[in-house]
């Protein structure tokens, strides 16, 4: 039967209004929308019950088997679109409706499926209606039925039921004679099963199966010498680039002109881990680094903090909404699975898209339009973060043509946990032989099969549907509440999340501490029958954690889970057998030695060849007035206000938010990052900041990395953070750096990777910033429409730092008229790769990228930190995109004050860089290490004394008059006012900034 729920008065449905607004804009014709929620039930539900349980008692009406589309008050629609999920895709609405019916009646509820019907009003032909349908569903996970009003009158109706996943008979494991396969057969196997393994790796697998010792061990347990598909899939997931970071652990031969080749054995060990190890003796706050799901630090007594960032690029390219949600809830689980479990206290997101106004002909067939990707990802972040009750504290949007193939969706989370749990250090955990292997949370389905290997390949037209999963924040929220309760009762001994690779990865990793695990696939709870054993093992169905529970605690654990409505199942037992043993259909279906699984992967060899960029260097044409240039920069999507988008993120939940994403008198100016309180009864807090500057990599990725670290650390200082207590994460998103016929410049991309690692190390060592966790995504290329679109090499640095008194946090906005404005740090003349260059047309090339003098900068930062701590520096803003002029404009907008400033005395080499007109360098250079700071006139002496010996220059003062005038040697080079600055800064991104609020 069909239950339909809708608002009795169409005018009350804000969702419909928002959608009508969007469709009207996109199709440039006035469209009205009515929304009807549909539930298809396998058994009768009375209207009274449905009205009570499924609808708002006052504002909505419910009808059973009586279509709303025929009701007189909805008359006049021209098209009906009904959207339902494809078989096997998680239908959260139906799950909740079922639970609501069950809770209401105390009995089990009928099977339900949900659908959503859109009645479209307006003069729409079939094509236009089809375009509307395309904007309200994603064909990857949903189906849409389109019915015209005329057809409706002739009796056309949406389906009475939607298909359920096909149920197969109990599938048996398949045997694969890997030990006897030739190279071609192996490669074909890898391709057909989406294993993403190289011939070297396949060879190692073959050799293991061909080893007589393996055959003997198998025979003893009644297994044939041939591999089972269960084993091969587990090996492929465990050995995927996603899980094993083969490129970061490769042996790299690095060449550059004029130097002998150099061998680097593991970028990770050489540049990442070594950095932290060298800093560790003077960074006593480090607790657990690189070993767990997230890095753990002790910034404040009594509690530990952890932080992690992930990317979810490939899924977001296919299903922007689901991809982004899953990215968030996935990284939340990383934190939840760190140590014995941390409570997430903030989310971050840094999103890289192609410009939303990219002309359609430039978007290759098979790829989603940038605007749809932006809107979908954004909506995913809104739902994923908000519904989880975790504040979205900080983030950024970047726009660049190279993200047309794959968007980059960086999702980060920080968490807090007590120092001890059950009297033991909370950051340590171990499964022991005899512990139960327990899975909690959602059930296993076909969603997300092969996510780990899929993300290790380029995106193409044949990318699999099943690789996409959809997270449900609410199921996870309930699981989180339960877990934190169980943690405090010390009811489990180890925990990790089920992310990439599913149970094969989580239990496979946990088995390392006990020495083995027996996994019983027959015990795993399934969403629907018919999954092959290997699918159960590698499925990435969401909202699941794996735990080790002492059998003595199992009854208490299970009882609490039942009370909290969380499903908990024993799916195996940890052993010390040295093997992963897998049972399916009552028999042994897999036997893999731990040693082979975790250490049998051959080390990759990778050539890396660097050649300097030799960016053409020209100079901007001299001009008398640079006002328009500044306004163009402020209006450029990378600099323009993201307020309409950011306002849809909840950044206040948990009541921690001291420095918010938007700041100033009218809360519409950008801040440099987040400051969060940690607890209600102290003033202790943390800073959260980012550094990301992919454009600089056009010149040299080493500069890009140095500048990214500088940007993150500088923002930490600008927010009032402690210079000595901060830790960083590195997230690399690279185009494929493995040279091949299909990827001829792979060795150059590998060299870019090497140089980025060096830049990262240099800056982190100079600033004393240990790297505590990180992640890399190495195949950010798309092949579509006969083109390869690769992302610019992109490094995101996420910083979490300590702050002892959040009350002292400055912000970016000037506090009032009459303040003295200073520029700290020296200004160089490089204009290459800057936002200024980007706004000067596609052919503008101004040479090399900006840099920073790390040693000088550090001294300045420490001195500024003293001025902030002494409450002398009243406002503080870092100079980044758009340079000094953009930073000054933002600080003025925040404070709603004008400015008169003279830039002739700016310290630095900007005048001597050779540009015939020195103004652009003074205004728009993006040299690192610089701030705009304002102080009260009476603090001048104290301020200059605190900063003495460092590069500091007083440039002007704020005014009550709204004029904004920057002079150079007495000549006005920018002359405008707050209104003009505001108009430029609030230029809607992609024509319309996320809609009106």
């Amino acid at each position: 039967m069909r239950i339909e729920v809708r608002f009795s008065d169409r005018g009350l449905d804000g969702r419909a209004a928002g959608l009508a607004d969007k469709l009207s804009r996109r199709l440039a014709v006035d469209i009205g929308v009515a929304v009807v929620d549909v539930f298809l039930s396998s058994a009768p539900v009375s209207v009274d019950r449905a009205r009570f349980v499924l609808a708002d008692p006052v504002a909505q009406t419910v009808a059973v088997d009586r279509p709303a589309a025929s009701e007189p008050d909805l008359d006049g629609w021209s098209w009906l679109v009904e959207v339902a999920y494809r078989p096997g895709v998680t239908d959260t609405l139906a799950i909740t409706a079922r639970e609501a019916l069950a809770l209401d009646s105390g009995q089990s509820a009928p099977n339900l499926a949900s659908a959503r019907q859109y009645l479209l009003y307006g003069p729409l032909d079939r094509d236009a209606a089809g375009s509307c349908a395309a904007l309200v569903h994603n064909p990857l996970i949903q189906t849409a039925v389109l019915i015209s009003a005329a057809d409706w009158r002739s009796g056309a109706r949406p389906p009475a039921s939607y298909p359920e996943p096909a149920v197969h008979d109990k599938p048996e494991p398949e045997l694969l004679p890997v030990g006897r396969m030739g190279d071609d057969e192996l490669l074909a196997l890898s391709r057909d099963r989406l294993l993403a393994l190289s011939l070297d790796e396949l060879g190692a697998v073959r050799a293991w199966y061909a080893d007589p010792a393996t055959a003997t061990a198998r025979a003893e347990r009644g297994l044939p010498p041939d591999a089972t598909d269960v084993e091969i899939e587990m090996i492929a997931q465990t050995w995927s680039e996603h899980c094993k970071h083969k490129i970061f652990n490769a042996d790299i031969t690095y060449e550059e002109p004029g130097s002998p080749p150099q061998t680097i054995s593991s970028l990770f060990k050489t540049y990442i881990r070594a950095t932290t190890e060298r800093l560790a003796p003077r960074k006593p706050f480090l607790r657990s680094v690189f070993t767990d799901n997230a890095g753990v630090v002790a910034f404040h007594q009594g509690s530990l903090l952890c932080v992690k960032a992930e990317t979810h690029n490939s899924p977001s390219a296919l299903d922007p909404y689901g991809g982004a949600i899953t990215g968030i809830v996935g990284v939340n689980r990383d934190v939840l699975g760190t140590g014995l479990g941390a409570k997430p206290i903030f989310n971050t997101n840094v999103l890289c898209f192609a410009p939303p106004d990219t002309p359609e002909p430039e978007v290759p067939a098979g790829l989603l339009k940038p605007r749809d990707v932006l809107e979908g990802v954004h909506r995913g972040i809104v739902d994923g973060g908000n519904q989880s009750g975790i504040p979205t504290a900080a983030g950024a949007f970047l726009f660049d043509e190279s993200y047309l193939g794959k968007p980059l969706v960086f999702c980060g989370t920080g968490g807090i946990m007590p120092e001890t749990v059950g009297g033991k250090p909370s950051w340590e955990k171990a499964a022991r032989p005899g512990h139960l292997a327990v899975m909690i949370g959602g059930r296993i389905g076909k969603d997300g099969i092969h996510g780990a290997t899929f993300s290790s390949l380029a995106l193409d037209e044949a990318s699999p549907v099943s690789a996409v999963q959809i997270g449900d924040p609410i199921i996870q929220r309930r699981m989180t509440d339960f877990l934190l309760e169980a943690r405090d009762l010390y009811l489990y001994r180890s925990i990790t999340d089920n992310g990439a690779g599913g149970l094969s990865s989580s239990l496979g990793e946990m088995a390392e501490s006990s020495g083995g695990v027996l996994i019983d696939l027959d015990a795993c709870p399934l969403k629907y029958p018919g999954l092959s054993p290997w699918e159960i093992l590698v499925s990435e169905s969401q909202e699941r954690m794996s735990l080790a529970v002492d059998p003595a605690d199992w009854d208490a654990f299970r009882e609490l889970a039942v009370r909290r409505g969380v499903e908990a199942t024993v799916v195996g037992r940890f052993t010390d057998s040295g093997y992963i043993e897998i049972l399916a259909n009552g028999a042994l279906a897999g036997l893999l030695s731990l040693d082979f699984l975790h250490h049998g992967l051959p080390v990759m060899s990778l050539p890396a060849r660097w050649s300097p960029s030799g960016r053409p260097s020209s100079f901007p044409q001299p001009a008398n007035d640079w006002t328009e240039a500044l306004l163009s920069i402020l209006a450029e999507p990378n600099a323009a206000s993201k307020e309409p988008w950011v306002r849809q993120y909840d950044h206040e939940v948990q009541a921690r938010s001291v420095e918010k994403p938007m700041t100033g008198v009218r809360r519409d100016a950008p801040s440099d990052g987040a400051v969060l309180r940690l607890d209600a009864d102290t003033f202790r807090g943390i800073t959260v900041t980012h550094g990301i500057c992919p454009r600089y990599g056009d010149d040299d990725t080493a500069l890009m990395a140095r500048m990214a670290v500088d940007e993150a650390y500088r923002a930490h200082i600008a927010l009032g953070g402690d210079p000595e207590r901060a830790a960083c994460l590195d997230n690399f998103c690279w185009p494929d750096p493995v040279e091949s016929d299909a990827n001829p410049d792979g060795a150059f991309k590998a060299a870019q990777l090497v140089r980025a690692c060096r830049g990262l190390q240099d800056a982190c060592l100079a600033y004393g910033l240990p790297l505590v966790s990180g992640k890399d995504s190495m195949k950010n290329d798309a092949r579509a429409g006969g083109r390869v679109i690769s992302v610019r090499p992109t490094l995101l640095v996420t910083l979490m730092g300590a702050m002892d008194d959040v009350r002292k946090a400055p912000s970016t906005d000037f506090l009032g008229p009459g303040e003295l404005v200073y520029v700290l740090g020296s200004t160089g003349g490089e204009l290459g790769c800057t936002l200024f260059e980007r706004t000067r047309g596609p052919d503008a090339r101004y040479g090399g990228a900006p840099d920073v003098d790390l040693g000088k900068a550090l001294g300045l930062y420490k001195a500024l930190a003293r001025a902030v701590s002494g409450r002398i520096a009243r406002s503080c803003h870092d100079c980044s995109d758009g340079g000094l002029a953009a930073a000054l404009a933002e600080s003025c907008l925040g404070g709603r004050v004008g400015l008169e400033a003279e830039l002739g005395g700016l310290p630095g080499t900007w005048r001597t860089a050779g540009c015939p007109d020195p103004a652009p360098a003074a205004l728009f250079s993006e040299s690192g290490g610089r701030f705009v700071v304002s102080i009260r006139p009476e603090d001048r002496e104290r301020f200059e004394e605190t900063l003495s010996g460092h590069t500091v220059r007083w440039i002007g003062r704020t005014t009550a008059d709204p004029g904004f005038t920057l002079t150079l040697d007495g000549r006005a080079v920018v002359r405008t006012d707050l209104d003009a600055l505001e108009r430029a800064f609030k230029t809607p991104i992609g024509g319309h900034g996320g809609g009106r609020i």
Partner: protein
């Protein structure tokens, strides 16, 4: 004699920890109780004088904000809750908690029959919004939570905060002093009469969309660096505790 507050948690409620902090800072003794445990043992109410429903996304708001939780409380605890209020207990619903109280028929309950009579629907612009907005408290309201409070900024964050009611209901709410607070200046969601919160005829049940529990520290106020003392949401909890101290001398 301490003033005990029970904060409902679980099922996707997510602003319970800071709400407990708010009550603690106001001088009450908060205890977080999972909704399942409370519904299984409603007698727990006897141990407290405040029952609070925090914000969040109970049951994901999949069927409409607060709806599933509302039905649970309506079908399993309505009588106990009524007796609790009749005995002088205070009830608070913030955001999702407000939606829950309204859909359960606990608020405004003009006729005392527990029938829902008003609604909170999707914001008129169809989007979730996070901001700080001006709020003023009705001097004529009989609400004990908001008595004597001056206007101030409070944080909002919701997608379904548009208060609607038919004219007759609206007239009765206004005439009886049941509108406790309104948006002051900008109306962020299209609520009729700028209504941001209402109380029941006893004045002891308050539901509101703004989040006073997210404004309990001066340093999280958006004007934290600007001159003058910023008024906080904390005052609302203090008002409730003061009222209980004066009216429940036991």
């Amino acid at each position: 004699m301490s003033i005990n507050a029970i904060i409902v948690t679980g099922y996707g409620i997510n602003a319970d920890a800071e709400l407990a902090d708010a009550f603690k800072m106001a001088g009450a003794v908060p205890r977080r109780a999972h909704a399942a445990d409370l519904l299984a043992d409603p007698a727990q109410l006897a141990s407290c004088s405040i029952l609070a429903f925090p914000g969040g996304f109970s049951f994901g708001d999949h069927l409409g904000s607060g709806l599933v939780l509302a039905n649970l409380f309506r079908s399993r605890m309505a009588a106990e809750l009524k007796a609790f209020v009749a005995g002088g207990g205070l009830v608070l619903g913030i955001c999702n908690g407000f939606q829950t109280l309204v859909k359960a028929g606990f608020l405004p309950d003009l006729d005392g029959n527990g029938q829902p009579s008003v609604a909170l629907v999707h914001n008129d612009h169809g989007r979730f919004v996070d901001d700080w907005v001006g709020v003023r408290f009705e001097p004529a309201s009989r609400c004990v939570w908001t008595a004597g409070l001056e206007p101030r900024l409070l944080p909002i964050r919701h997608g379904e905060g548009r208060f609607v009611a038919d004219d007759a209901t609206l007239g009765r709410l206004e005439a009886n002093g049941l509108v406790a607070l309104r948006y002051d200046g900008r109306n962020p969601n299209g609520s009729v009469h700028d209504i941001a919160g209402i109380c029941d005829p006893t004045g002891r049940i308050l539901g509101l969309m703004p989040h006073p529990e997210a404004s309990i520290h001066p340093d999280t106020h958006p004007a934290r660096r600007r001159p003058g003392r910023q008024l906080l949401g904390l005052d609302l909890f203090r008002a409730a505790v003061r009222w209980l101290e004066a009216n429940n001398p036991a």
